[in-house]
């Protein structure tokens, strides 16, 4: 087959490979291998997994973006499609950009179905090659995937040595698997080399842009943050897409949290009967002085509401990771969204408000996990870290994490036994320091520290009350404490030039797409300032940005403009100045979408 004429379309280190597959066939390891090999060639790369809420047999896709400029969001285009699932040929074919490539398994002729003149078909008889080489049915399924990695290595100029090294590392204790994988790679590689003029114009060229980076997902790094923060209790109920957070915590603890002498655990993980119990356990442990957390997603957070109000009112530290997925109700468990914002901010009945942190990538999942435990204990309140499926479950390229061995956790205002010895009467809910935060005591430390913790009306002394003044005194102080939290939550990330009056405000995983969109818009002469909120309640920098800009695009991934609503409710933001850019289909937001939305709004504004 002749691939000439495509040379005009060279996309060295700047293209997207999308792999269409059937879930349960082991494609994840093949795709991970491919992505990591590109990363090892020093080329910036990011992977997005689009998987069904299912165990085996449904369509699944994996998208790898190679970006020499280091852009980490989806671009919104597909250059090379590896079609391993005949069920989805039609839609997969339709998605390729003009001039792109469609690699399919030509064991069974499909040319008639594949009618697009502007796309190059690359037929490789993967099943045939693998069936001839391997005997067991399971190996044939798995190796077919490894075989396309081999074909791609030839087509894209992926260095075979890098693949070999990786496989040797991955299967260090299973030499048979190394041999099988290498054989499958060789089959694909040789076939592609013999039948096509390799490499394609879309190709890889070694760079040196990944040395100070890692490839990791947010749930893993959030779990690592919990370990480094000194969390000892994790209680949870399994729910997609948060489950891998506790899996990772368990793995880390097994390695780094065993008593070296006895081998016993310096941690406790409880798989609760439901999310109500999970948050109850976290609050029980937090009340008793241990750092405790629970990972969950939307439906779990809904169930936790009553207890979150209890934690707020009784002032008990707790850390909750809400790895958001598409709602409402069960929604789409394997799709991403940022639609729990309002629920989280005001979770539970009565006047409640919570402290929220918004990581934008896996590295921030690590640092914000650590921050969350400090804030929860400093402020004596539940703190929620709102990531999402895109951050939590996808592998992102992020700067290497660092740790300061001198760092000590902030355990907040907990009375020491010595302080309690000199105390005649302990008043749990009295603000002695003027920051809205009272002193706290732990059970079992000293008789003077005893008090009764309750979710019913209580006075500053900690006694039960139904007296209006006594009740209101505590409620008002809680309000002051929440205000004080503005100065403690992570400051927003701001990128601004003096003199600009238009800007973008965004949140969480939108960040990567926004950054790329801003570069692209700047290239078109549209310059915008940018603020990414990183915590709630919003502090003075958010207020300042809102004041200084007369036109602000609020980019977020939900239908109801929840970030915009929160800004309008909690700051001096002027409604007319805010324009929503909303993406909520469940796929991670891409830069192309943001660019075209902003461009359209500006064009309409000029026309008006």
């Amino acid at each position: 087959m002749c691939l000439a004429g495509e040379c005009m379309n060279a996309h060295a280190n700047d293209f997207v490979i999308k792999i269409a597959n059937v879930n349960g066939t082991g494609s994840a390891s093949a795709n991970g291998l491919l992505m990591k090999a590109i990363f090892r060639m020093g080329i910036p790369v990011v992977g997005k997994n689009f998987f069904p809420s299912n165990i085996q047999g449904l369509p699944t896709w994996y998208e790898i973006r190679v970006s020499r400029d280091g852009y980490l969001a989806r671009s919104g285009e597909v250059d090379v499609l590896v079609a391993m699932n005949a069920q989805t040929y039609a839609r997969d074919l339709a998605e390729i950009r003009s001039g792109g490539y469609f690699l399919y398994d030509s064991t069974w002729p499909r040319e008639a179905e594949l009618a697009r003149r502007d796309v190059t078909l690359i037929g490789i008889p993967l099943a045939k090659l693998v069936n001839e080489a391997f005997n067991s049915p399971r190996a044939r399924i798995l190796m077919k995937n490894i075989c396309y990695v081999g074909a791609l290595a030839a087509l894209l100029a992926l260095e075979p040595d890098v693949l070999k090294t990786l496989l040797t590392e991955i299967y260090a204790d299973k030499p048979k698997l190394i041999a099988d994988n290498l054989r499958a790679i060789e089959l694909g590689y040789q076939y592609a080399t013999r039948h096509f003029s390799c490499p394609l114009p879309v190709r890889l060229e070694r760079m040196n842009a990944t040395a100070d980076f890692i490839l990791a997902d947010g749930n893993t790094l959030a779990a690592l943050g919990c370990v480094y923060a000194g969390a000892t209790l994790g209680a949870w109920y399994p729910i997609t897409p948060s489950t891998s957070l506790m899996d990772a915590f368990k793995d880390f603890c097994e390695r780094y949290r065993k008593d070296p002498v006895s081998g016993q655990r310096r941690y406790c993980i409880v798989q609760a009967e439901d999310e109500l119990a999970a948050i109850g356990m976290v609050l029980g442990a937090g009340w008793n002085g241990a750092r405790a957390f629970t990972p969950t997603s939307g439906p779990g957070l809904s169930l936790m509401n009553e207890f979150l109000g209890f934690g707020y009112y009784a002032e008990i530290p707790a850390v909750i990771f809400d790895v958001q997925r598409a709602g409402p109700s069960t929604g789409m468990p394997t799709r991403t969204q940022q639609a729990d914002l309002l629920l989280a901010a005001y979770a539970s009945h009565g006047d409640t408000r919570h402290v929220l942190l918004f990581p934008a990538n896996p590295a921030e999942c690590f640092s914000m996990a650590v921050t969350a435990f400090d804030l929860a204990e400093r402020l004596q309140t539940p703190v929620m870290v709102l990531s999402d499926l895109d951050i939590g479950m996808n592998d992102w390229m992020v700067p290497k994490l660092s740790w300061d061995d001198h760092r000590m956790p902030d355990r907040g205002k907990v009375c020491t036994p010595d302080e309690l010895r000199d105390l005649t009467l302990f008043h749990r809910y009295t603000d002695r320091d003027g920051d809205g935060i009272p002193q706290r005591t732990l059970p079992g430390v000293h008789p003077s520290g005893a008090y009764f913790t309750r979710g019913s009306g209580h006075s500053a002394r900690g006694t039960y009350t139904e007296d209006a003044d006594e009740y209101q005194e505590v409620l008002d102080r809680l309000g002051r404490k929440h205000d004080y939290a503005k100065t403690l939550v992570p400051a927003p990330a701001v990128r601004r030039k003096e003199g600009l009056t238009s800007g973008v405000i965004s949140i969480g995983s939108c960040d990567a797409a926004v950054l790329e969109a801003l570069d692209r818009l700047a290239g078109e002469g549209i310059e915008l300032n940018y603020l990414r909120v990183r915590g709630f309640p919003f502090g003075s920098e958010v207020e300042k940005f809102l004041e200084q800009h007369t036109q602000i695009f609020v980019v977020e991934q939900n239908r109801d403009a929840q970030l915009k609503s929160l800004l309008l409710l909690e700051t001096g933001a002027v409604r007319d100045r805010l324009t929503s850019i909303l993406h909520y289909g469940g796929m991670p937001i891409d830069s192309r979408f943001i660019v075209s939305e902003i461009r359209a709004v500006l064009k309409a504004g000029k026309a008006a």
């Binding site: 990363f39 890692i214 490839l215 990791a216 690592l224 480094y228 923060a229 000194g230 969390a231 000892t232 209790l233 209680a235 880390f252 780094y256 008593d259 081998g263 016993q264 655990r265 310096r266 941690y267 406790c268 993980i269 409880v270 009967e273 439901d274 109500l276 119990a277 999970a278 109850g280 356990m281 976290v282 609050l283 029980g284 442990a285 937090g286 009340w287 008793n288 002085g289 241990a290 405790a292 009553e306 207890f307 290497k400 994490l401 660092s402 740790w403 061995d405 005591t441 732990l442 059970p443 079992g444 430390v445 005893a450 008090y451 009764f452 913790t453 309750r454 019913s456 039960y464 139904e466």
Partner: protein, 351 residues
């Protein structure tokens, strides 16, 4: 107003326990429950049991959910921390608190609404995890604070104060716990302090989840003719099957056990429970037989009480988790944080 500071009245002649504390030192605030409420008798029994066990007041943790029963932790051991959680969710608070510090004495006080309706799920899961705690249900068959609705423990055919007949079968926490594999299962009656105090002591010293279902009549809404949870009914149909005598570790056991029907059960702290069979055909060491006996007599309208089942060999929560022996909350930070060098090493996997 339902909080009243109780004046501390104490005189020098009051007996002292080994810590030099009188029973007054184990009291709490003034009860705001109705005069004659069974729960106040349970509170008194708790105070006596804890005092006699020589437990330092601040080493106790009191936990409850919502309801009349759940108010009572405020009425005993004032020098202990207490936590009044949301309705039916005390077991999860207890699980988390116990996970954080296994060295304290945990007492959960619940009711039949709190444990058998809204909190049934959490109750059985705490039992299944064998959390080391005394879990005491003050069981009166009725919702008091919302004024007289049947609870899930109300017997079929019993009537409400205004005459309504309950047609649904009850949930019995004792047979439920037996079926689920509970390691300590007892039933008492708030009107029988002599039976109740040793049950509380044994439950507190049991190494695992000690369920103590206490029939505790509601004088306001469920003490009438037609109620099967009234004082009169409970007294009449009470069938003590196995009596528990609690022997602290310092007293030699031989000196106490003279009778032939007594079975000594060693508790983990070195104390002993002497089980005396009151009913000859009852075996509190056999789950199936205990179940059959209780069920058979319940069918006949009798309420079997006493230490009904005990198994000291069942692993409790921390043993199952293989937790370090000290309190997790007291582990020094350097033992929890792997540090910069390890972080570097971990990240090699992500390269």
């Amino acid at each position: 107003m339902s909080f009243m500071k109780k004046p501390k009245v104490s005189h020098s002649g009051l007996p002292r326990n080994e810590l030099g504390l009188s029973i007054r030192d184990y009291e709490g605030s003034m009860s705001t429950l109705c005069a004659g409420c069974g729960h106040d008798s349970v509170t008194a029994a708790l105070i006596q049991a804890i005092w006699e066990l020589n437990i330092q007041p601040h080493r106790i943790v009191k936990m409850s959910g919502i309801g009349c029963s759940s108010k009572t932790p405020a009425y005993f051991v004032e020098a202990a921390h207490g936590i009044n959680a949301v309705h039916g969710r005390m077991p999860s608070i207890a699980t988390g608190a116990n996970a954080a510090n296994r060295s304290l004495h945990y007492i959960g006080i619940s009711g039949d609404g709190d444990s058998l309706s809204i909190g049934l799920g959490q109750f059985v899961h705490a039992l299944r995890r064998n959390i080391n705690m005394l879990y005491l249900i003050e069981n009166n068959g009725v919702y008091g604070l919302t004024k007289g609705q049947f609870s899930a423990s109300a017997d079929q055919g019993s009537t409400a104060k205004k005459g309504e007949v309950n047609r649904q079968p009850p949930i019995d926490p004792v047979t439920l716990a037996l079926a689920l594999g509970g390691s300590f299962i007892a039933r008492g009656f708030s009107g029988d302090k002599d039976q109740l105090v040793p049950l509380i002591k044994a439950g507190l010293m049991h190494n695992g989840f000690a369920l103590l279902d206490v029939l505790s009549p509601c004088v306001t809404f469920n003490d009438h003719e037609g109620s099967t949870k009234s004082y009169a009914h409970t007294r009449h149909f009470d069938l003590p099957a196995a009596q528990a005598d609690f022997i602290p570790r310092k007293i030699p056991i031989q000196a106490v056990t003279a009778g032939g029907e007594a079975i000594p059960v060693a508790l983990h702290d070195g104390s002993t429970v002497i089980l005396k069979k009151v009913a000859k055909d009852y075996n509190p060491m056999n789950r199936e037989e205990a179940y059959q006996y209780i069920q058979k007599h319940r069918d006949g309208g009798e309420i079997v009480t006493g230490l009904l089942y005990i198994n000291e060999d069942q692993a409790e929560f921390h043993a199952l988790n293989d937790t370090v022996s000290g309190a997790l909350r007291d582990l020094p930070y350097p033992e929890l944080c792997p540090g910069a060098a390890v972080l570097e090493e971990i990240q090699q996997l992500y390269r």
